[in-house]
Symmetry: C2
């Protein structure tokens, strides 16, 4: 019988985290242990160690119900680089607990390519998500308390843009009325909860380069408007210090390991549909200070996470990727080619080739930035040799190289060719070409994203969105990058348009200024910022026995 992810994780002996830290030049006083296999890294890292600082970005085609295994390939690639004698650190996002209780697994990789301890990372880990929830909702309470206690700032309760958050999939809290119960229990108004990873504070944490930058960004956050429509910021409330203080430990990157003991820094996890979808720049920066090869990941497909990595993360990080790996699977491309989920294990080369243009679009999008692009085929056991050959041939036609990886079954040994190719690619001289300039108008920025990355025709704004653009220009907010909030399932804003659609327009219904994070979110289609639980939540199958052994987590 095949072991499950949690069984593989539980059955693999881990090295003490002190030993992992030592491997990358950190002493026991450079870290704060959290148990014996997790630690937070003290900032700033003062180790003076020359490194190559090669940065490898892993992204993928559009996710499908078939599964792509982007995190699994990221972990496997890191392990393969380690096996090839390269000093490597993996930088990943932290999982959100809400979806873990719902139906999702895999934020920690899978099979023999996992970051561990898998249970801890998937549950409370080192408390970063909880600190964000606490900080976010403390700010919300301080805003409502300000109104209740006299409202000196003249805040309009109907125009508060700072909602509340929980790290829980709870549709019941999406749309609520708060402040009922009379004079002593606040001012009645509409409100709602988002999931914590959708909090602007998550994006702020992930884009901050140090503690002062974090405080600066927190103070910049827009919380609402006055009755006469003037913007009000956290700094106006004078609570930027308190909110930052609640995030002081959360700002420190977390160190763990892979099943093969490659060091992994797991830190920050903004939603890639509503936010920028990359781990913290402090995680990536710390990894680059300590390793020759840093392998990091961008959430969902190259259209969402990849684009945002290039246009939002790179400027904050001050470093462009030296190579990009686009992960694809035969199954997912067949799904993009119209095969139903239940039929994916049947060989179907025609459907594979019909769906393959989705891969091409993502490869071209990444190549647009002037960086070397490699394709990794994450092979599933049901993939036939004909399918694999057909896909490899298709990739060769595109003028890029593709490598079959089997990291789920084989760990790092399943990605040796890919690792060698990645090392070689990072030695190529390349010139990063930004997609847009900050001086471009927001509409110009969006148009470039849609035409050059998504393969669409352009953007169309709702009346509200157009109105907002005029206000933003008045407020001087239009020189910020755009963060597209779009379905992850399609290159368009219609989740059902698979493959590589053309001729489509992206409809922007509303903008959300995220001035602390430093971007303007463009909301397209129906992007949910608070997921719900399914009919049979994963929680129903979870258990813990009297020895503390956990089952049902995946």
């Amino acid at each position: 019988m095949t072991e499950t992810d949690i069984e593989i994780s539980q059955n693999t002996p881990l090295l003490p985290i002190k030993q992992i830290a030592e491997r990358i030049g950190l002493s026991a006083t450079d870290i704060d242990p959290y148990g014996h296999t997790k630690a937070k890294i003290h900032l700033p890292v003062t180790v003076d160690r020359p490194t190559k600082q090669k940065l490898v970005l892993v992204t993928s085609i559009n996710p499908t119900p078939a599964g792509e295994g982007k995190s699994t390939v990221t972990v496997g690639l890191g392990d393969a680089l380690t096996r090839q004698g390269k000093r490597t650190i993996i930088a990943l996002r932290e999982p959100s607990l809400g979806p873990v209780m719902g139906l999702k697994g895999g934020a920690t990789g899978g099979g023999h390519a996992q970051v561990v301890p898998m249970e801890d990372i998937n549950l409370h880990f080192t408390g970063d998500m909880h600190a964000l929830t606490e900080a976010h909702d403390t700010l919300a309470a301080l805003i409502d308390n300000h109104i209740q206690q006299g409202n000196e700032l003249n805040l309009d309760p109907r125009q508060i843009v700072w909602k509340r958050v929980l790290d829980i999939n709870d549709r019941e809290l999406r749309n609520i009325v708060v402040g009922l119960g009379g004079r002593t229990s606040g001012e009645p108004r509409q409100d709602g909860f988002d999931i914590t990873v959708a909090s602007e504070l998550m994006a702020v944490l992930c884009l901050s380069k140090d503690l002062p930058d974090l405080k600066h960004r927190v103070n910049q956050i827009l919380i609402g408007y006055t009755y006469d429509r003037q913007p009000v910021y956290v700094r106006d409330l004078k609570v930027g210090g308190a909110i930052t203080l609640l995030l002081k430990d959360a700002l420190m990157p977390n160190l763990v390991q892979t099943l093969e003991h490659t060091p992994a820094i797991i830190h920050g996890g903004p939603f890639a549909n509503i936010a920028h979808g990359c781990n913290s720049i402090l995680a990536t920066h710390t990894a680059m200070q300590l390793a020759d090869y840093t392998v990091t990941e961008a959430g969902f497909g190259a259209d969402l996470g990849g684009e945002k990595f290039m246009d939002i993360t790179v400027p904050a990080l001050g470093k462009t990727p030296d190579a990009v790996v686009v992960v694809a699977t035969v199954r997912a491309l067949k799904y993009n080619g119209g095969v139903a989920k239940g039929d994916l294990t049947q060989e179907n080369v025609a459907a594979l080739l019909k769906g393959a243009p989705n891969l091409e679009r993502h490869v071209r999008g990444m190549q647009r930035y002037g960086v070397p692009v490699i394709v990794a085929i994450n092979r599933f056991s049901s993939d036939t040799d004909s399918e694999i050959s057909a896909l490899l041939a298709y990739i060769q036609e595109l003028g890029v190289t593709g490598y079959v990886t089997t990291v789920w079954a084989d760990g790092g040994a399943g990605a040796i060719d890919l690792a060698d190719a990645v090392v070689e690619a990072t030695e190529e001289s390349s010139q990063f070409v930004p997609l847009y300039n900050n001086q471009d108008s927001l509409t110009e920025k969006m148009t470039k994203i849609v035409t050059e990355i998504y393969g669409g025709q352009g953007v169309e704004l709702s009346a509200k969105a157009s109105r907002q653009l005029r206000t933003f220009a008045q407020n001087g907010w239009d020189n910020l990058p755009v963060c597209m909030a779009k379905t992850q399932y399609s290159l368009s804003d219609d989740p059902k348009l698979l493959g590589a659609p053309t001729g489509f327009t992206i409809h922007v219904r509303e903008f959300a200024p995220r001035l602390g994070a430093g971007f303007i979110v463009a909301l397209t289609g129906n992007v949910l910022t608070m997921p719900g639980l399914p009919k049979h939540p994963a929680a129903l199958d979870m258990d813990i026995d009297e020895t503390g052994k956990i089952t049902g987590l995946f």
Copy 2:
């Protein structure tokens, strides 16, 4: 200039937590470090070390705005015992972050009698509160999801008794309407948030003797009723395993130290007005396994925390206290004697003696249980010698001994006499006399509490409360202990009735069955389960500088 609590804490070098653990016989593998000065203790503790297992309970008169310093005396007494060569561990509750952002300090003691690192303990500590919030609200989401997905259990949305929680003082969330937004966003219904420490899960965590007991108790929790008024429990939802799993780390007691390096176990912090107000029995039990003297504390006055320790905690703990210390201050007794808060620094022996019967009532209440009682006078610098002499004479009249302590200024050195007296008292042979039996009816239990502990005449039930009692009897819930939810400021249910009122009746407006915790809460007066923030919240004065140094926490 006098140092503030946070400055004293920041300026005192701590010992590595591994060293503190070693002092009590725990090796590096018996603990999970959280940073270098905090740890969680692995359960069960397998150290086979003969100890005296003497248990000292510290409680106090009714709290007043004048301040009593119960935690400060608890810490100082522990340090004094250590100075006297006694192997001592202090067991305390964990502070709640909500009030820390509001106006409260002092859950970690004060001056030179503090548990440290004070900032960490007052902020996220080891994440226990956050784990409770997550577990509580995950359960809430699972309940609403059950209703949304077909409601197989026939749950009546109007009769859900499981609210939501946050560890934040947020009056705006007290009374809310959830589930708005149409068919896909849940079922509209009334709901509300309590503060996390008021969650039944907190009481459950604190009364569980091990992981299986925790899971058993979680499964027993009442979540609501069906349309035909049948009770529905967590076990019916089949999510007891998932909720317990979220609490697995939170169940492990936390080890820290005092400024004088006495080991302190800080774990669990249920509200003493709504719940039972004592640290976890695992904390106390672990301390007793490792030390000869365990000093623990019961929240608010002897009428609330003290009574609940004796009637709720003791049966779960399986151990009765060997001595009880009742903390009083000259200031608080003068306040009880009618002096306004602004005039407390002026000598006023007459008012002191007028308020002193409040102390007598608490002493008699504790003596009722057949255990030795000692009074500790926590001296403030404004107390005059005449006041102290008058109070000592009054205490002597009561037939008990009183000791002046100066632990705020002097640390353990300020409580040597008290420590010696406590050691002596614990050697007395005493026979614990329970206040009531489980077989007594709920009304008999409440009557005994009111007449024998509060000094009142009896209880009066609202129509609703009477109706509930009949249902509880039908459901077989009436053999549980009663947990009185009463104002902490008075022995009666009227916060303005100071001193030692007589002839009063306690009005029970409603009962709340807490079947996981194993008690029935009797709600009297206007007990708030979600506090609000004041006009000038403490958060406004907090800050963190670029080196991570915190100011404004107290």
